[in-house]
Chain length 261, copies 2
């Protein structure tokens, strides 16, 4: 990045352009660079890294002022990053991709389901330092004020230091304004239970709403992001987009040979 040029920051989310979280994020980031926002025109929670393949994707300019351009997009969070790169950025490579601030917890195994992290993984796969921010509060009027200081500091740190190849950040804030500190974490291990609430339609009982309860497999593991959040800390989990299970390669190779493969 040239010293006399403001960083170009590409912003998106999965709650959509109307959500409080992305508007707070824009406010927090404006002093730090030139912002191009392309975000879903409606909520896309739980999109993961989903793509839109069976319909065209559309974008539209919503707002343009010095240092801030905002577009709405008909697609998924991942589509937003792909489409912005190939259209409105016109060959300019962002210095940073920032996603959020999500209304809800994206720690632990939620990284797989999160559209917030879908944005971040897409930035990372394209070699752009990328950060996702989430607050553990689903309320539409959630209080993001305590995050401001940390968002600026973490974004400033990543603009200065960069991130290693194939690596991005998943940052989660506890649902409190009384933050106890910052912890660099592992992804907590666990699974979801009681995931479906019946919602019968007339006499058909096979309709369900997704809901659920996270069961932490290591609730006393002080190194994981779930523990950090439960103890009032900001959880910064470095995430790799290389999902290879390297530790299993040799054993799997032996299994295959034994099976005559």
């Amino acid at each position: 990045m040239e010293a006399n040029k403001r960083p170009l920051i590409l912003v998106s989310n999965d709650d959509g352009l109307m959500a409080k979280g992305i508007n707070e994020l824009i406010k927090f980031l404006r002093p730090l660079g030139e912002l191009v926002v392309m975000a879903p025109e409606a909520p896309r929670s739980g999109s993961g890294c989903a793509l839109t393949v069976n319909t065209p994707v559309h974008y539209q300019l919503v707002r343009k002022e010095v240092g801030l351009t905002v577009y709405r997009c008909s697609g998924t969070p991942t589509d937003c990053i792909k489409l912005a790169r190939h259209t409105v950025l016109d060959g300019r490579v962002p210095d940073l991709v920032v996603s959020g601030i999500n209304h809800g917890d994206n720690s632990a195994t939620n990284v797989h389901y999160s559209g917030t992290m879908g944005v971040v993984i897409e930035g990372c796969l394209n070699g752009i330092p990328s950060i996702g921010f989430s607050l553990c509060d689903h309320a539409s009027d959630a209080d993001f004020s305590a995050a401001e200081l940390y968002v600026r500091a973490i974004v400033g740190m990543v603009l200065e230091k960069g991130l290693p190849p194939l690596t991005c950040l998943n940052v989660n804030f506890p649902a409190t304004t009384d933050i106890k500190g910052v912890r660099v974490c592992q992804q907590a291990k666990g699974h979801w239970e009681k995931e479906w609430a019946p919602c019968p339609r007339l006499d058909d009982t096979n309709y369900y709403w997704l809901t659920g309860e996270f069961i932490d497999h290591e609730s006393d593991n002080e190194n994981d992001d779930h523990w950090a959040l439960n103890n009032g800390c900001v959880a910064i989990t470095p995430v790799t987009v290389d999902m290879t299970a390297y530790a299993f390669i040799d054993t799997l190779d032996a299994y295959c040979r034994e099976a005559g493969l």
Copy 2:
């Protein structure tokens, strides 16, 4: 698994219940166990680990015979696994989750976008050994015959040996019936380019279809899945659902302290 009991295999895909690939998979797997199939009622390619959160999800019995029960589901591939576990399986835990056979390549970074692998990741997060099969041919009448032998051998191997915690398999077949062998691989590194084809609607030029071209960053890396497929081999890539970038934790911790976080 009790020795005298047939394995229970939960099957899904992302191309939907009408696709040739899942029907071929069912045919290949029937001798190996009792099959419960819950698959999307329509194509859901590129779903990643997406969930349906803003509408209810519905399932319906399609077919029931000895050793095979088939359900259609209105949701995503990931929804299918979650919903089957909590409804039709009625507390029975599958011995295996199998997904596919996908019409199209899910090697390399496609693991993130793939609904086929969304099924597998969901199985794995729930502690069930899980395997995704994909063929590098998008055609609706693709020839899956060469995969039969390998699907049976790989499924048999996993039923016998199991898989380590948090680990699942992404198996891709080259688009040939002349298979040169099997390779245990890493996820190839690369990114997508030329991803959008314009499809203007009347005078609005901001409509695009997703397409693209995969740029391999290490095309001569004989250890990766892209290389294996390009050289006519079946690529078996072990995948971890723990996306923590462990190698970066200490450095990130130092960065944070330096930044006063």
